[in-house]
């Protein structure tokens, strides 16, 4: 209910001329924000404790759903409905067992894969951002670099893996390179959009200061691109994990991807799925970190205003 704007006046709106007026106790999604926040101190109902509880609902609600989901899974409801076999989708208990049995290995593999993902994502996002800078600064000649990146985005990891293996060996470097290539495009395209969709008058203001190209970026374009950049970072947080994992399928001797592909091929589905579960947890945490950063960095953006 922390939405500020009436992004969806409730379905009953507008059609209920004759309907009794809404009970005043039920504020619309729109106003609850300005209200709840402004009343936070004056209204005893909005004690810090209550607010914390409401805020933490963002955690316990998905958690509750998750528990329910796990329960249905464990009780083989999904297996029943979708006619799945346990060797296609193992039960959570089996996955948990496999996880406990291989805990230390799984932990170190998760660290290994996460390292690849984070390094690759940082390199790829940085490169993509630089490419967006170039494409914005010199639209005519730099614009083509965007197309180059988009092109590389169409090279699948199966093809990338052997090439990167040749160039960087079978160590961590080749996966970092794979992840770099796979995360570049999202950042380049999004950052480019952010840098070019500035308000025309804001650009005029910079021109009136005879702002150098660099200044235009420093004072205007980069800030304007931040919401887009964070969207790209969110995409890349997940893309980098999956890139690292799939990259490990082919040449790596460690990591979640290596273990996953091996386990599935020798029908150790629970172990394979414990890799997936860990990857998912790592990926979600990675994503949430990026989201937190977004909240900090672009408080001013209309999508973030309370």
């Amino acid at each position: 209910m922390e939405n500020r704007y009436p992004n969806a006046p409730s379905a009953t709106e507008a059609s209920n001329h004759s309907a009794p007026p809404d009970p005043p106790a039920l504020p619309s999604a729109y106003r609850s924000s300005s209200q709840s926040a402004s009343q936070a101190r004056s209204d005893p109902r909005h004690s810090p404790f209550l607010r914390m509880l409401v805020n933490s609902s963002s955690i316990w609600l998905p958690l509750l759903a998750g528990v329910l989901f796990l329960l249905l899974w464990q009780l083989e409801v999904f297996h029943h409905i979708l006619d799945l076999k346990k060797y296609q989708l193992p039960l959570p208990s089996a996955i948990a067992n496999a996880m406990l049995d291989n805990w230390s290995m799984l932990l170190s593999y998760t660290g290994y894969t996460l390292t690849e993902a984070v390094l690759g994502m940082l390199c790829g996002s940085a490169l993509g951002f630089v490419i967006a800078l170039i494409a914005t600064a010199w639209p005519r000649w730099g614009g083509a670099s965007l197309i180059v990146v988009a092109t590389m985005n169409a090279v699948p990891i199966v093809a990338l893996a052997p090439v990167m293996n040749l160039w960087f060996g079978d160590g961590i470097g080749s996966r970092v390179a794979i992840v770099t290539v796979t995360t570049m495009a999202a950042m380049a395209i999004n950052a480019y959009k952010g840098m070019t969709s500035v308000h025309p008058l804001a650009l005029d203001l910079m021109h009136s200061y005879a702002a150098s190209r660099i200044d235009t970026f420093r004072y205007l374009r980069i800030q304007n691109s931040l919401p887009h950049v964070f969207t790209a970072l969110k995409i890349n947080a997940t893309a980098s994990m999956i890139g690292a994992i799939v990259g490990e399928f082919f040449f790596s001797s460690q990591g979640l991807g290596y273990l996953l592909s091996n386990s599935i091929k020798v029908a150790k589905m629970p172990l394979g799925w414990s890799c997936i579960v860990l990857a998912a947890i790592a990926g979600v945490i990675f994503y949430l970190i990026v989201e937190r950063l977004e909240k900090v960095f672009i408080r001013w953006h209309s999508s973030q205003r309370i």
Binding site: P62, F69, Q88
Partner: protein, 270 residues
């Protein structure tokens, strides 16, 4: 008419120059690697451009046929993935509750590699063709969803208030305001997703498809360095499919959202 030629002159020439520069550098690098550095497998690392071209021409029939098969699959996967992404974004924009509920799981789902996903999808739909399409859609949907969500959320507060003052039904708010306002963002997402769909289609072809660029890509890798040029030809074809898809989306963007500041005609160029 005029816009067309303008577009050509402004965009095509630099691209052509770029391509030429890259190819020359590539060829030179390849030569240096082979003759100066003397590293093992030099041609596998950076093959001669002219050799790739010769091979591509020699097998242009195969490449064209398999390439178009892949492109067709990519297009279907892309459309499904994009539609799913847009739908999910709309759902999540309707309420933060839905977002909170579904989003962690959407992210988590992205962590399931095809290798783990394939048995499940096969198990559920029991049709390999449909499974492949679902899987390539699954690869494309995430960037579309995120970009679309950002677009839907970044609507100007005052524009929203206008709708609110009309007591607009949710449906109208979306149709008349949020969706058009989100188009630029959506197209960014689509530009990311379109080449990804090609990747997805190729990946999916590794799961026992009879046709497609991915199939020959795999075989050429597998049958060894004597096939480097053909392998690189398939990579180039994949990349070209990526350019093509990107370009198609850019074109549609210009047609669908000409009001964007980037596309506006301005008095006097700066």
């Amino acid at each position: 008419m005029r816009a067309g030629t303008l577009f050509m002159r402004h965009r095509l020439v630099p691209v052509l120059v770029w391509v030429a520069v890259i190819l020359v550098l590539w060829e030179a690098g390849s030569w240096a690697l082979l003759n100066l550095a003397g590293v093992p497998l030099a041609q596998s690392k950076l093959p001669y451009v002219h050799a790739i071209v010769t091979t591509s021409v020699q097998y242009s029939g195969t490449l064209l046929k398999e390439g178009s098969a892949t492109f067709g699959n990519a297009a279907i996967g892309f459309i499904i993935g994009a539609a799913a992404g847009v739908l999910l974004a709309i759902l999540m924009s309707v309420s933060r509750w839905i977002e909170r509920l579904t989003f962690p799981y959407a992210i988590a789902s992205q962590m399931i590699p095809i290798l783990g996903l394939a048995p499940i999808i096969y198990g559920i739909v029991r049709d390999e063709y449909i499974s492949r399409i679902i899987i390539s859609g699954y690869i494309t949907f995430f960037p579309v969803a995120l970009n679309m969500l950002r677009g839907l959320r970044s609507v100007e507060p005052s524009a929203l208030e206008l709708m609110y003052s009309y007591a607009a039904k949710p449906w109208s708010v979306y149709w008349k305001l949020r969706l058009p306002a989100a188009l630029p963002s959506l197209f960014s997402g689509l530009k990311i997703a379109a080449p990804l769909a090609v990747t997805g289609a190729i990946l999916v072809e590794l799961m026992g498809a009879q046709h497609g660029i991915g199939v020959i890509m795999l075989r050429n890798l597998y049958y060894g360095p004597s096939h480097v040029y053909m392998f690189w030809s398939t990579v180039i074809v994949g990349a070209l499919l990526g350019i093509l898809s990107y370009w198609v989306i850019s074109l549609i963007e210009r047609l669908a959202s000409p009001w964007q500041p980037e596309f506006r005609t301005r008095g006097g160029e700066r």
